[in-house]
Structures are given as C-alpha cells and as structure tokens.
C-alpha cells in the first residue's frame, strides 16, 4: 500500500514540476533557473510542513516521498548549475549552487513553523 501511495504522489509530482518550471521560465526567462529554484523552495516548504505536522501515515507517504520528493529535483539543479558555468556565467552558477540549498533549508523551517503555529 505504501508503494502505491508513493507512486500516486510521484505520478502527480513529476508533471507538476515540469509545468511549474515551464510557467516560471515563460515569465522570468532562462537567464537564471528560476523554475527549478522555485519548485525546490516550494517542495522544501511543503515537506517541512508535513514533517512537523502529525498526519496519518498514508497521507505522509502520498505527500512526502511521493509528491514533495518527486516535485523537487537535485539532478536538474546540478545540471543547470553546470550549464551556467559552461555558458560563461560563473557568478550565476555559484549563486544557484549557494542560494538553492540556503533557501530550501529556510523554507523547510518556515513550513515547519507554519505547522507548529497552526497546532497541527
């Protein structure tokens, strides 16, 4: 059952990541990988919220390793960092490599704080 919940969450999470990334790129351009940056920040906030709240195990499997973990991505983040460096934008590559983890950690704390505030 846990596997099915993880699969169900992933079936939604991966296309949602793609659609979010595309929508953000259409608005903010491709000078900086804002799409992946935003997707990861959102997923960290959601998983931080989920980890601090007390949801049933079924919901946690669906939304945690299923939806949130699949919605976020490390491989696209690292590839885009490399592409920026190879395209002659070492500052943007470095900014992406430093800001993504910092903002992801910050939003994970914010999500958890929100769950605590709501008393979940």
């Amino acid at each position: 059952m846990n596997w099915l919940l993880v699969i169900a969450g992933a079936l939604a999470g991966a296309p949602l990541r793609y659609l979010t990334d595309r929508a953000v790129q259409a608005r903010l351009g491709t000078l900086f990988p804002w799409g992946t940056f935003l997707v990861n920040a959102l997923a960290c906030a959601a998983l931080g919220f989920l980890g601090a709240a007390a949801f049933p195990a079924n919901v946690e499997h669906l939304l945690g390793p299923g939806l949130c973990a699949t919605y976020s991505t490390y491989s696209t983040f690292s590839w885009e960092t490399l592409r920026l460096a190879e395209a002659g934008a070492p500052l943007r590559a470095t900014a992406n490599a430093l800001a993504s983890p910092a903002v992801g950690l910050a939003t994970a704390f914010l999500g958890a704080a929100l769950a605590d505030t709501l008393g979940l």
């Binding site: 991966a14 390793p65 491989s75 696209t76 590839w79 490599a97």
Partner: protein
C-alpha cells in the same frame, strides 16, 4: 567585437549578438504543436519509476534520523552523475526520440533525486542539535552533486568523442 579569429566583419559595425543563452534546462519546452499529453505522460511514468527507486533505496538502507543521511546523499549524487551522462548523450551526441529526455531526465532522474528530502533531513539534524553533521551534509551534497554531474558530462564527452560543452546547447 571580434569573432574567435580576431576578424572584424566588413563595414566596421560589429553584428549585434543575440543574447547567448543556451538552454540550460533539461526540461526545455517541446517543439510547438507537439502533443503535450505524451510528454506529460512520459514524465509522470518516469517520475513514478524514479520515486520507487528512491523509496526502495530508503527501505534497503535506512538511516537513523540523527546520523548522516547517506542514502539520500547517495541517491542524489548518483542521480546527478546519471543526469550528466544523459544530457550529453541526448543534447550533444545523439538525436534522441522526443520522449527520451522528458521520460529519463525530467521523469526518472527528476523523481529519483530529491531536494526537499535533502533540506528537511538537514532541518531535522539542526533541530536535533547535530549541527556539524547538518553542515557537513548540506555542503557535501552540493559539492559532490555538482562534481558528479561535471565529471560525468566530461567523461561522457570524452568517451563518445562529442565536442566540448562550452557554448553548446
């Protein structure tokens, strides 16, 4: 402004260079008019496979919550190395079927790797008082992930004889 051979074009006025922005995103848009449904289905299927591999790795190699999260670390680093191989092959070396990159890159590898588990693992380490482990985990994952994708891309270019990556799409 000169080209790489140092020659100015006739007329003295250098051509206006278009913004040099190679697609840096493995999730680059499909060609216009293409059936988006096929792309989304390929991504969903790939994402489910990648998520299962990640979830299975977590069950096979569980890590205590106050320890260095080796399993997520290994998942992310190996996923980044695989992304380096894949992207060089499908963007520089071969003309892949249009669903290969959405399925394998955005789907399988995007779903296999995770940024949110990385950040929340680090948060748990920090709130549990394991600050040195958290800092080591945060920095080592970024460093090893970027090193893995870089080395994998370079090695793939070398082994397949593909041109170097600088300035290429």
């Amino acid at each position: 402004m000169t080209d790489e051979h140092g020659e100015r074009p006739e007329g003295g006025i250098p051509p206006v260079e278009p913004p040099v922005e190679p697609p840096i995103d493995p999730d680059a848009a499909p060609t216009p008019g293409e059936s988006e449904a096929h792309v989304l289905a390929a991504i969903a299927l790939g994402g489910a496979l990648g998520a299962c591999a990640r979830y299975g790795a977590g069950l096979l190699w569980p890590v205590a919550q106050d320890a260095f999260p080796w399993t997520t670390f290994a998942v992310n680093v190996t996923g980044c190395a695989a992304m380096g191989v894949l992207m060089v092959l499908v963007t520089e070396r071969f003309t892949a079927h249009r669903l290969v990159r959405p399925f394998l890159g955005t789907g399988v590898l995007g779903g296999y790797t995770t940024f949110s588990t990385y950040a929340t693992d680090a948060r748990h380490l920090l709130t549990g008082g394991h600050v040195p482990t958290a800092i080591l985990y945060l920095t080592a994952t970024v460093a090893c992930a970027v090193a893995a994708v870089t080395l994998a891309a370079r090695l793939t270019r070398r082994l397949t004889g593909a041109p170097t990556g600088r300035g290429r799409a």
